[in-house]
């Protein structure tokens, strides 16, 4: 006997509001411009959004522990410069391994200071931001550097079954991390730390180690994003990745995660990235100049967050103070 489950719209709205926002935005955009729906534009947009997607995933897990990582934008620059530099003397595989190793160490240092030395994540990662950016400028001597590597180039331009590799790559990461969050102890523990670190620690969990792991992840994902960007533009530049940390934070928050930690969903974060991306894309298509674009984007971010809050408010009223 078939029994159709009734759809609980209230639950869906509370937990996946950003999905609805993304759908609405998609429909509105397709009405505003004919170009928007073209395969070329969509794939271009998605390709463009691949690096921000990775960074946002890393940021999500950092934010889930109640922390923040402001250094990721500069880590992108560092990774892109390193890539260009190393490729002059090494092959691609070695280059990638070395770049990711560097970013992992960088993240581990930030994580160590946050977890074991109890420094504020905001301050540590802010310092990390200037350090990484400084390193990028030193190594590149402030100049963008051309990359000549066909393998890396094909990574950015090739497609599998019609879908750009970069896009497949980003979506695979989303899927893998959504599964990790849901089904592994690591995902559960990261969430527990952000929700009540004291209780997690008293449950016998090595909270410090997990906190470090989250910053390592964030840095490595930023490193991968840096390599992706280098492959897209064929240039290693100390100016790559600028302000990407802010877009990542905005995407995570639009995705419904609280900056206080303890909650968040990978899928919703992806939607957050797409919402931001679509806003930029449609304004470009409609020839809105860049400064008004910034203002509009900011306003839309605030609106999206207000919408999230009003939905959550109802929940909080009936479950807090219990």
């Amino acid at each position: 006997m078939d029994r159709i489950k009734k759809i609980d719209w209230g639950y869906l709205l509370r937990n996946y509001l950003v999905v609805f926002v993304a759908i609405v935005l998609f429909i509105v955009s397709s009405q505003l411009s004919d170009v928007f729906l073209s395969t070329q534009n969509i794939f271009n947009l998605l390709r463009q959004l691949a690096p921000p997607t990775l960074i946002a995933i890393g940021m999500l897990f950092v934010i889930m522990t109640g922390g923040i990582d402001l250094s990721v934008g500069s880590v992108v620059a560092m990774a892109s410069v390193f890539t260009a530099h190393l490729l002059m003397t090494h092959n691609l595989v070695v280059t990638i391994v070395l770049v990711l190793l560097c970013t992992a160490v960088f993240g581990a240092v930030i994580g160590y200071l946050v977890a074991y030395r109890k420094l504020a994540a905001f301050v540590v990662s802010l310092a990390g931001m200037t350090i990484a950016s400084g390193i990028a400028f030193i190594v590149s001597r402030g100049m963008p550097q051309r990359i000549r590597n066909d393998a890396l180039r094909s990574f950015a331009v090739d497609s599998v079954l019609g879908v750009p590799i970069l896009v497949c790559f980003a979506l695979a990461f989303v899927l893998i991390f959504a599964l990790i969050h849901r089904y592994t102890t690591w995902g559960r523990i990261v969430q527990a730390i952000g929700s009540n670190e004291t209780a997690a620690k008293l449950s016998g969990i090595n909270t410090n180690l997990y906190t470090v792991s989250v910053y390592v992840l964030s840095s490595v994902l930023a490193g991968i994003a840096g390599i992706m960007i280098a492959s897209r533009v064929n240039i290693g530049s100390p100016l790559a990745g600028q302000l990407m940390e802010l877009d990542a934070i905005a995407a995570v928050v639009i995705g419904g995660a609280s900056l206080a930690g303890g909650n968040g969903k990978v899928l919703n974060t992806l939607m957050g990235v797409w919402v931001l991306g679509m806003i930029g894309n449609i304004m470009n298509l409609m020839n809105v100049p860049s400064y008004p674009q910034d203002v509009l984007k900011g306003v839309i971010i605030i609106l999206a967050i207000l919408l999230q809050m009003s939905k959550k408010g109802k929940d909080i009223n009936s479950s807090s103070m219990a």
Binding site: Y183, T184, T185, W186, R188, I189, Q191, A192, G194, S195, N196, T198, A199, A200, K201, L202, S203, G204, I205, N206, G262, N263, S318, S319, S320, M321, A322
Partner: protein, 494 residues
């Protein structure tokens, strides 16, 4: 405006999703009356009071104060009606000082604060309940008992005509509660109406005029205290007689399991003792005696200055909680809200977090196994909930406590430290927990029990250690167990 009742609540109903927490409850309190409200965990006591204090909105019903219908839609409105409440779970700002917490509301009203006067007044209020806490102390650093005192002081510093106390004595000793009772009786003389919720039923006979019993969201009796007995109240609460409150155990005490030597730290000095396999060791003492602190130091939650630990005769070291848990220790902490439960995780996830290995393979969860484990423990402890998928903070206070116990029953710990395990738990469920303690001991584990309830210690333990001001004042063997002997050791000069 001489109404017969100060408060009249009529046909109060409240549901949370599918749970009917209150089903048409009527409840009235006269001026100058101490009205006790009792019932099992999850009966609806706190919910009824939260409606009165504006924290929850009722679904239907009517509230009259001094005979006049009123609508209470926010905490601010309740305060305006002269209602003061001490919630079961603390609502203190941990980063503020004790004095700032006590005078939180009046602080916002003036631009300048006379700090020395504020601190002085705060100290006075605290002293009036029989305690001494430095008003400049950071509230977050206080133990649960002191936090409770600050909560009580906070509401007593205000001029209220209706005073609601939701389990104010759950972590206090009888003698410590006594001073507060005197104060309540004084307020009663002044005409203040007091609603008193407690699972310590003997307290009802010390201060109560009337006792209302709630069961599953319905009233099962409103009686003058003078006509009741503890057994009658229990019957009204749980719908049956409770034959044996303290299940008996044949103790089978084996070899030494764990030994502490010369433990010293911020709040305790030179504490040494040992616990044997199959033994339940009780730690008695007043609030601030250092019992909790010694146990936290043993568990690696706090640093200690000196001291050695021996497990089965071999010296071991637990520098962190991770090592302690791995070494077979469990600590049921005193403060469930701050130290025990993780709000972002549901009941199932809270229960299994202490032993993830048991429900995972290669760090990947086996959902079926996990549900089974959580389900079994939740049933065993009779957690009252629709399912283990519910939010932990949607549970009533006593049921939250059961979840904290459940999460530690999920481990194979050899040394189980329990700090106020029955705090806020109803009489029936207490018996369950005592049964668990007995089981643990019978299986050959060492149990260390900290409790402010003297009868509990006397009934459950094989041996008692009495602490005061961070020092072990003496040890009592089973044959010398009595409240008098404990109190004597506490006050004795050394």
């Amino acid at each position: 405006m001489d109404a017969e009742y100060r408060i009249e609540m009529k046909n109060m109903s409240k549901s949370f999703g599918g749970i009917h927490a209150l089903k048409g409850v009527s409840f009235s309190v006269k001026p100058g009356e101490i009205h006790c409200l009792v019932g099992e965990n999850g009966a609806g006591k706190s919910t009824l009071m939260k409606i009165l204090s504006g924290a929850y909105r009722m679904d239907s019903g009517e509230i009259k104060i001094n005979g006049k219908p009123v609508e209470i839609t926010s905490p601010a409105q309740a305060i305006k009606q002269g209602i003061g409440i001490v919630y079961q779970e603390f609502e203190l700002a941990n980063d503020l000082s004790v004095a700032e917490n006590i005078f939180m509301e009046s602080l916002g009203k003036s631009a300048f604060v006379n700090w020395s006067k504020l601190n002085e007044e705060a100290q006075k209020v605290v002293q009036s309940i029989g305690f001494d806490i430095n008003p400049r102390n950071n509230t977050g650093d206080l133990s649960v008992a002191y936090k409770q005192i600050v909560e009580i002081a906070k509401v007593l510093s205000k001029n209220v005509s209706i005073l609601i106390l939701d389990e104010p004595t759950a972590v206090l000793n009888d003698s410590e509660a006594e001073v507060m009772f005197k104060l309540l009786l004084k307020l009663k003389e002044k005409g203040v109406s007091i609603i008193y919720i407690s699972h310590r039923l003997d307290e009802i006979f010390k201060i109560g005029d009337t006792v209302t019993t709630l069961k599953d969201g319905e009233i099962t009796g409103v009686n003058p205290v003078s006509e009741m007995t503890v057994d009658k109240i229990i019957e009204l609460m749980i719908g049956r007689e409770l034959s044996d409150k303290y299940p008996k155990r044949v103790s089978n005490i084996g070899e030494e399991c764990i030994r502490l030597e010369g433990f010293s730290g911020g709040m305790f000095r030179d504490v040494s003792f040992s616990v044997r396999k199959g033994e339940v060791l009780g730690l008695a003492g007043l609030v601030g005696s250092g019992r909790t602190e010694v146990m936290r130091a043993l568990f690696g939650a706090d640093k200690r200055l000196s001291g050695k630990v021996f497990y089965e005769g071999k010296q071991v070291n637990f520098p962190s909680t991770v090592k302690a848990v791995r070494g077979g220790l469990a600590l049921i902490p005193e403060n469930r809200k701050e130290q025990g439960l993780i709000p972002a995780l549901n009941i199932r996830k809270n229960i299994t977090i202490t032993n993830l290995k048991k429900v995972t393979k290669l760090n990947i969860f086996n959902s079926k196994k996990e549900s089974e484990v959580a389900e079994t423990l939740s049933k065993k402890l009779r957690v009252k909930t629709e399912s283990v998928e519910s939010n932990v903070f949607s549970l009533s206070g006593g049921n939250q406590q059961k979840v904290v116990i459940a999460k530690w029953m999920n481990t194979d710990s050899k040394v189980v430290i329990m700090d106020e395990p029955t705090r806020g738990v109803d009489v029936g469920a207490k018996t369950e927990i005592y049964g668990l303690i007995n089981d643990l001991a019978t299986q050959g584990n060492a149990v260390i029990l900290i409790s402010s309830e003297m009868v509990e210690l006397l009934a459950m333990c094989d041996r008692l250690l009495v602490m005061n001001q961070g020092i072990v004042k003496g040890e009592l063997e089973k044959e010398n167990f009595s409240e008098k002997n404990i109190m004597q050791l506490i006050v004795e000069e050394k």
